[in-house]
């Protein structure tokens, strides 16, 4: 289970997108994991052949746990993994099989036919009346085990109550699922218990943000700097540039801001990276996290990778993709985990300046307000200019205000020469 960002310690494997025996390449998306931050697509970093799964769909496992064995090219398949995977107990009682903490994950032989987990049965909806569902929950009956006699074979209250009577009458409880060969949750049971309800998700995300922000303010000695930047040249250049582009390819000024931050960071490596174990660790590239707010509240800050090396067009494409995937609730593991700095723009909300809270373990956060027209003196003349307030929240353990100030000044210089972007 890859790192899924600060303060996310576990993830629930919702779906395998490959099966044992499949050929996979570096960068392929092989699984979907559910976290407090929404569904995240897991990428693979080796090419090879999927040998076996160590974690089944529905299991909640800690970051760092083995998810699957992959035979890399030229390697002979190792014997199936036998070590037990520490499965975190799930809170629901509806999935006894998957929730057992000590259940070893048996590996299917590599040549086994696709044990397709999301089979037709899993996608078919359980026909159960609202009343019967409620009664089933009250009586602790798994509706998937009840035979329906209602309209179209639907499960009714009568059926659930009959099942409850039958269960009470049966002498010993069924053997514990540990004895069964495959502790996979029954598809129907899975169907009626979504990985995380929307309200729970909201609450979980709120908790994740709370934990990260509290940790930031507890541990990080912030310093804050702000400066006004004249955007007239940048905007004039952008207008010219957009005239040459088709509507779909046009640039937003936010792409310019992201690119200029990324380029400026090349000269200020102490702002780009992480504070871990009492020391600064520079980022392995300039991956700019973009704070994106969610419609139902909360936010995430997935990364645009190597933003300094991307063209404005590429940044624009990345930005669009990120916003789309954030809103859809599907992010890639690398995007969520490895931003080396965060940029937040609250200009859309109409505010002029923002001094943000650093997202640990990052060491800096750059904020932009909205572009406002203001009187501006330059060369002895006063004119109306579009002005943006750029701010820097810095981790004083990793950098000092002097360097932070130079960073903002360099950012300003770059934005006065937009053609360099």
């Amino acid at each position: 289970m890859p790192s899924l960002g600060a303060d996310i310690e576990t993830g629930t494997l919702v779906q395998w997108l490959v099966k044992p025996g499949d050929r996979i390449n570096r960068g392929d998306i092989i699984a979907v994991v559910e976290t407090e931050k929404g569904a995240i697509e897991i990428e693979v970093f080796q090419s090879g052949t999927v040998q076996s799964f160590a974690v089944q769909e529905g299991d909640k496992v800690p970051v760092g746990a083995t998810l699957a064995l992959i035979a890399t090219d030229g390697e002979t398949p190792a014997p199936p993994v036998r070590e037990p995977v520490p499965v975190v107990p799930a809170p629901s009682s509806l999935r006894p099989a998957a929730a057992l903490p000590t259940a070893p994950a048996p590996a299917a032989p590599p040549a086994a036919p696709a044990a397709k987990p999301a089979s037709a049965a899993a996608t078919a909806h359980l026909r159960i009346s609202p009343l019967a569902m409620r009664v089933a929950l009250e009586l602790g009956i798994d509706p998937a085990t009840v035979k329906g006699t209602g309209p179209g074979g639907a499960i009714t209250r009568f059926d659930v109550e009959a099942a409850a009577k039958g269960k009470a009458a049966a002498a010993p409880p069924p053997p514990p699922p540990i004895a069964t060969p495959s502790p996979t949750p029954t598809p129907a049971a899975k169907e009626i218990r979504p990985a995380m309800m929307a309200a729970d998700k909201q609450a979980a995300m709120r908790r994740a943000i709370a934990a990260a922000m509290a940790r930031s303010k507890r541990e990080i000695p912030h310093y804050y700097l702000g400066t006004q930047i004249d955007m007239s040249r940048a905007i004039a250049w952008l207008r010219e540039e957009n005239l040459r582009r088709s509507i779909n390819d046009r640039l937003l000024y936010s792409a310019m801001l992201l690119k200029s931050v990324a380029l400026t960071l090349r000269e200020f490596p102490e702002l780009n990276g992480f504070w871990v174990d009492g020391a600064f660790k520079p980022g392995d590239g300039i991956h700019v996290g973009v704070a994106i707010s969610l419609r139902l509240g909360g936010l995430v800050a997935p990364a645009i990778h190597d933003a300094d090396k991307k063209s404005l067009s590429e940044i624009m494409v990345s930005l669009r993709g990120l916003v789309k995937r954030v809103r859809a609730g599907v992010l890639r593991s690398s995007e969520i985990a490895d931003a080396t700095i965060t940029v937040t723009s609250l200009g859309e909300q109409g505010i002029e300046s923002v001094f943000g809270v650093i997202y640990p373990p990052q060491v800096a956060l750059v904020g932009f307000g909205k572009i406002v027209e203001r009187p501006w003196a330059e060369g002895g003349m006063i004119g109306a200019r579009p002005i943006i307030m750029a701010s820097l929240s810095g981790d004083h353990r990793a950098s000092d205000g002097h360097r932070g100030g130079l960073f903002l000044a360099a950012l300003d210089r770059l934005l006065q020469n937009p053609e360099k972007l």
Binding site: S129, P130, L131, T149, G150, P151, T156
Partner: protein
């Protein structure tokens, strides 16, 4: 039952038609502002013989034959009501009432609102509705659900002798327009009615038969069919409740929700067409109010979506029938063996 009979020993054997006539007579006697107006209500005694004998008893000033113009005489009724009278306007059938739709919907229903509360319209409009007598598509439709859509009017559907006798006076007492829909097949319905039967409330639905397995929700001309279906279901071991809505606007929401909350299943029986009907409204309210109590999807038994046929066998095929209600209810309850 016997105790109940002891408390009201005096009953008379009567019909729905006579109960309705008695209600009109009573109103004419009690309130000098009341008069009856409509096509053939006087000399002919009413198209369905409801007002037979009233012209002789009350004279042409209070039993007024009108020209064949629904728009004109309903409009006259609105004017009389505004002027302080308490008119009862009879329209021959709901099909013909469409000629007076402008007066009913655009005037009667809105004047209180549009005059800033200055003018109430204490008007009662009676009309027949429904099929079953081979009167074909000119006279047989059930459009009361349309009127139930309109704010500013009340819509009543008396289905019993008590309601035929008692709803009119309460409607006349109401300061605003009230429409009374009399199902044509009910006029000959016979039964016992308390000799002292009088005004009844028009705000509440009535449980005509309590039951625990499902609710048959209906009104007007299909109440008898629902009662018959409940009897047959009881023989099959299914205990059906029959809820008579009585008033279609405003609907007695609590009664509907209470009944379905107890029985967890509902079949709505409505002689109107299914699409965009009062049965659709009731179904929606059940969903809104009792979703987590439902043990099966709400079902509806309505008329075939075609103009009402004239031939007897086709008319029967088009209308909700007891056998269909029973089948629908049995499918809903499921196998119980």
């Amino acid at each position: 039952m016997s105790a109940q009979e002891q408390t009201r020993p005096q009953t008379i054997h009567t019909t729905y038609r006579e109960a309705m006539r008695e209600a009109i007579r009573d109103a004419l006697i009690r309130d000098p502002r009341v008069f009856l107006m409509g096509e053939d209500v006087g000399r002919y005694g009413g198209c369905f013989a409801v007002s037979k004998g009233l012209l002789e008893e009350f004279g042409p000033e209070r039993i007024r034959d009108t020209p064949l113009s629904e728009s004109a005489f309903v409009g006259a009724g609105i004017g009389a009501a505004m002027g302080g009278m308490r008119p009862i306007v009879e329209i021959m059938t709901v099909n013909f009432s469409l000629l007076a739709l402008d007066q009913i919907v655009n005037n009667a229903a809105t004047i209180l609102h549009m005059s800033g509360g200055q003018f109430n319209i204490p008007l009662v409009i009676r009309m027949t509705t429904g099929a079953g007598r081979q009167l074909a598509a000119q006279h047989s439709h059930s459009l009361e659900g349309w009127y139930a859509h309109i704010p500013g009017i009340k819509v009543l559907a008396p289905a019993t002798l008590e309601d035929a006798r008692g709803m009119l006076w309460t409607a006349l007492e109401d300061p605003d327009p009230v429409l009374i829909f009399e199902h044509g097949s009910l006029y000959n319905m016979e039964g016992e009615l308390a000799a002292d039967a009088g005004a009844v409330d028009i705000e509440h639905a009535a449980i005509r038969r309590p039951g625990s397995d499902l609710s048959l929700i209906t009104y007007g001309g299909t109440l008898g069919k629902a009662m018959q279906a409940a009897l047959e279901l009881a023989a099959a071991g299914i205990d059906a409740e029959v809820l008579d809505l009585r008033t279609l606007r405003p609907l007695d929401n609590d009664a509907i929700v209470d009944s379905v909350t107890r029985t967890h299943r509902a079949v709505i029986i409505d002689e109107g067409w299914r699409s965009g009907s009062i049965s659709a409204e009731i179904s929606a309210r059940i969903m809104e109010g009792t979703f987590y109590e439902l043990d099966a999807p709400v079902q509806r038994v309505c008329s075939a979506e075609a103009p009402m046929p004239y031939p007897k066998h086709l008319e029967e095929a088009a209308l909700p029938q007891v056998s269909v209600i029973v089948e629908t209810a049995r499918a809903l309850v499921g196998k119980r063996d």
